[in-house]
């Protein structure tokens, strides 16, 4: 067990941070929802329809808040994996070396006649299975992105229509919601921050260092060395 914890510590620590943050979001989001509902009801001289925590966790309000952030994170990683195949940044540890753009040779990628005994089975067999396996990381990340973006759209749609009905407006169809300012505002506000963070990471890591981190070049590595991880 101790060996398991040590070998998997990165995913375990991030998993625990995720659960703690999600719990905090749920509790804060629940209070926020009930506060707004109470103020709104006071204004209308009505009794507030506050929710229990259990009911809030099954609400579109909570689901929309979670999924709009999930989709942008998975889009970020999907694009990062895919765009770094063809685009490079001289001096960045996040980039391949100049001249290595593209899918690279079978020798570089250890496929075809260059497979090893310990290569994964789908890398060894060739044909459609190797072609699929060669793109499996981006396919899974892109699937999670599209699915969470879809989940954001249906939960946001449900939430938006509840607001419209409350304000005596007719509800929108799902396709109409996809063209709404609300859907694109919640989508793009997340995308812009992800693109800025990835772009700045790629370029800041050319000149700045973190000793011991594989996301950084070695401290003494020259600024123009590309793709050398510490």
């Amino acid at each position: 067990m101790r060996r398991f914890l040590r070998e998997q510590s990165l995913s375990i620590v991030f998993g625990l941070l995720f659960l703690a943050a999600l719990t905090g979001q749920a509790i804060a989001g629940w209070h926020d929802y009930n506060n707004l509902e109470t103020w709104h009801a006071q204004l209308q001289h009505e009794a507030p329809q506050t929710l229990s925590l259990g009911r809030y966790l099954t609400s579109s309000s909570f689901a929309q808040a979670v999924t709009e952030n999930w989709q942008s994170e998975y889009l970020q990683f999907t694009l990062f994996i895919l765009l770094t195949v063809w685009f490079v940044q001289k001096g960045s540890p996040e980039s391949k070396r100049l001249g290595e753009e593209g899918g690279e040779s079978d020798a570089d990628q250890l496929v075809g006649e260059h497979v090893r005994d310990d290569s994964p089975r789908w890398a060894r067999v060739g044909g459609w299975r190797t072609a699929l396996y060669a793109n499996s990381l981006v396919l899974v990340m892109a699937t999670i992105w599209v699915w969470s973006w879809f989940a954001q759209s249906v939960t946001g749609w449900s939430e938006y229509n509840a607001d419209r009905i409350e304000h005596e407006q007719s509800p929108l169809s799902w396709l109409q919601y996809l063209g709404s300012a609300d859907f694109w505002q919640t989508t793009l506000q997340n995308w812009q921050s992800e693109f800025l963070a990835v772009g700045s990471m790629a370029v800041l890591a050319v000149f700045l260092r973190q000793r011991g981190s594989p996301e950084s070049k070695p401290v003494g590595s020259a600024h123009d060395v590309t793709g050398a991880e510490g």
Binding site: T58, V66, D118, P120, I144, A151, G156, S158
Partner: protein
């Protein structure tokens, strides 16, 4: 399995993350589609 250079427990976190994500996305999708 040893021959391929990994032990079955290496897969544990891989499976846990994927299952969690699929269950979570299913849950949130159902909430949206049932207009909660």
């Amino acid at each position: 399995l040893r021959r391929r250079g990994y032990a079955p427990r290496m897969r544990a976190m891989f499976v846990i993350y994927l299952v969690f994500i699929v269950v979570g996305l299913t849950y949130f999708t159902v909430i949206g589609l049932t207009h909660h």
